[in-house]
Amino acid sequence: MHHPILETAGLTVRFGGHVAVDAVSCAFKAGELTAIVGPNGAGKTTYFNLISGQVAATAGTVTLAGDDITRRSVSQRCRAGLGRAFQLTNLFPRLSVLENVRLVVQAQGTGRVSLLSMAERDTDLTDTAMQVLRRVRLDDLAGQTVAELSHGNQRKLEVAILVALNPRVYMFDEPTAGMSVDEAPVVLDLIAELKRDHTRTVLLVEHKMDVIRTLADRIIVLHNGALVADGEPAAVIASDVVQEAYMGKDLADV
């Protein structure tokens, strides 16, 4: 509990001349839910990409539970316990909803994948996948092809995949974006549930202030790729730098 589960030190990436993430040093404690905020293009998604490995860092390190994982591949980081849901829905479009989640559960297995057994006969896998689907209320649509799902349901499946990964660190990137008012609570309740289980670490990129207020233990603010504020939600929201840099207009909306 005392040493951080995840830590970035001087994490930087440059795209040509543009510094998208600028020497971000930040530690995340196990059991904590941290909201990451910042204006469009601030580098939130890129910060996630650096942590989960989709983008290679120009400088700095990422440490997971004491291991330097900066040079590890995406799949290695995933197996080490970093789970990621994407801002832009990123699914297996022509496979069924159930198959999407089953694949994730299967990936959690022993690492040995059989070539000669029948996937269909692995009922444990199917049961686990169905349980996850129930948690996001997609169990009725298990047999549908993903491409046939509504946008809101695709977003839910995106979250279901992260839940099925059962990671040590959950990274949600605007999980409720584009969801209708009656769909969003399913996802938010689920995140609240993860939070109640105090072993889970959650990183949440979110724009909606009411969501942040109810869920976050801590807020960090990115601006032009740099970390400009970090602390208790009330203090961060009230701080001048945040008011000026970004939140003035958003706060007025609330």
């Binding site: 297996f92 990936a107 070539l115």
Partner: protein, 350 residues
């Protein structure tokens, strides 16, 4: 039982099930239903191409990898059997050693190609396979001391598999070694096909489909995409090589034209697309239709041309020399009307 044999992958269409059953029975009883040398040649060729096309579909349809080296692997298996039969002498041991060696060589070569290129973009793999396949084709025709060059190699197979070995008559058909050879081809191909059907319906096969759908996400949920792609490539190559070995046993001859040529590669592509990518049954339908068309379209057109000889223009169009044109027309029509292939269409367009 049936479910286990078919690995739970049911045809899911009455018409498809009926077609598959007709093809199965037709091939199983071919020597008795369609006696004659030519029809037996056609039946054996269908069996072998079903396996060859299915192994290619494992790569193209299931994993989403484009390769132009499939005939090269096919050729490796065929030359494996030919070379061992030439050097070890006629015998089943030569056939076995040649088959195993060919499959191993194919898998190793596929592994090397995969290692060099699968990390990079998919298009790079396609280009490398094209380059390697052309290089191997040139090499085979240059090294004529070993490979027989353009003339290829003739060799003897065990007497038990030749027409000279006779052991009676049944249903008016002479029972001889050629018949045994056909059933060796049929049995081996059936087993290989069912093996591939199992592989694509295994947990491994599901991952391949996931990679085809979205390799980025497959990696993000913890699968080592490069390792899966490489293994799929090796497996596909090894099965193609075994199909080549069977072909070599059947033909008692190998040459660049029959096993390595680029036109066979094109035929395989056409068969996959006509049958339906990403369904093993597509390979059965595609290969059967294509090989039948290849062998009988000319004859059919010849008689149609004669029958219409009184009419203007039509006999010309139907002249047997134009069979390639009609095959092309059939291909365009089938892709236009069945973009998901015949099997995709029969299973209900998605």
């Amino acid at each position: 039982m049936i479910d286990t044999i078919l690995s739970g992958d049911r045809p899911r269409s009455m018409t498809l099930a009926a077609l598959l059953l007709i093809i199965l029975v037709g091939l199983a009883l071919a020597p008795f239903l369609f006696p004659g040398v030519r029809s037996l040649e056609t039946a054996a060729r269908i069996c072998i191409f079903i396996v060859l096309v299915a192994s290619y579909d494992l790569l193209l349809g299931y994993t989403g990898i484009v390769s132009f080296a499939h005939t090269m692997f096919f050729g490796l298996g065929a030359y494996g059997v030919a070379l061992t039969s030439v050097h070890m002498g006629r015998g089943f041991d030569a056939l076995a050693v040649g088959t195993v060696a060919g499959a191993l060589a194919a898998a190793v070569l596929a592994f090397v190609i995969g290692l060099l290129s699968l990390r990079v973009r998919a298009i790079f793999f396609a280009m490398i396979t094209l380059a390697v396949a052309s290089a191997v084709a040139v090499l085979v025709s240059q090294l004529s001391q070993i490979t027989g060059g353009e003339d290829g190699l003739n060799y003897l197979i065990p007497r038990e598999l030749t027409p000279a070995f006779r052991f009676g008559e049944a249903f008016g058909v002479k029972l001889n070694g050629r018949l045994l050879a056909y059933y060796l081809v049929f049995g081996a191909c059936l087993l290989l096909f069912l093996l591939l059907l199992r592989v694509v319906n295994s947990p491994f096969g599901r991952v391949l489909e996931a990679i085809r759908e979205n390799d980025f996400r497959a990696e993000a949920i913890g699968y080592r995409v490069v390792a899966y792609r490489t293994l799929a490539t090796c497996l596909s190559a090894a099965v193609a090589a075994v199909a080549g070995s069977i072909f070599a046993i059947w033909l008692r001859y190998v040459g660049p034209d029959t096993t390595l040529s680029f036109s066979i590669m094109l035929d395989i592509l056409l068969m996959v697309v006509i049958g339906g990518m990403g369904t093993m049954y597509g390979a059965v339908i595609g290969a059967t239709l294509f090989v039948l068309a290849q062998n009988y379209l000319q004859t059919l057109m010849g008689s149609a041309s004669d029958a219409t000889s009184a009419l203007p223009l039509i006999p010309d169009l139907l002249s047997p020399d134009r069979w390639m044109l009609w095959l092309g027309v059939l291909f365009v029509l089938s892709v236009y009307f069945f973009p998901t292939g015949i099997v995709g269409r029969l299973r209900g367009a998605r």
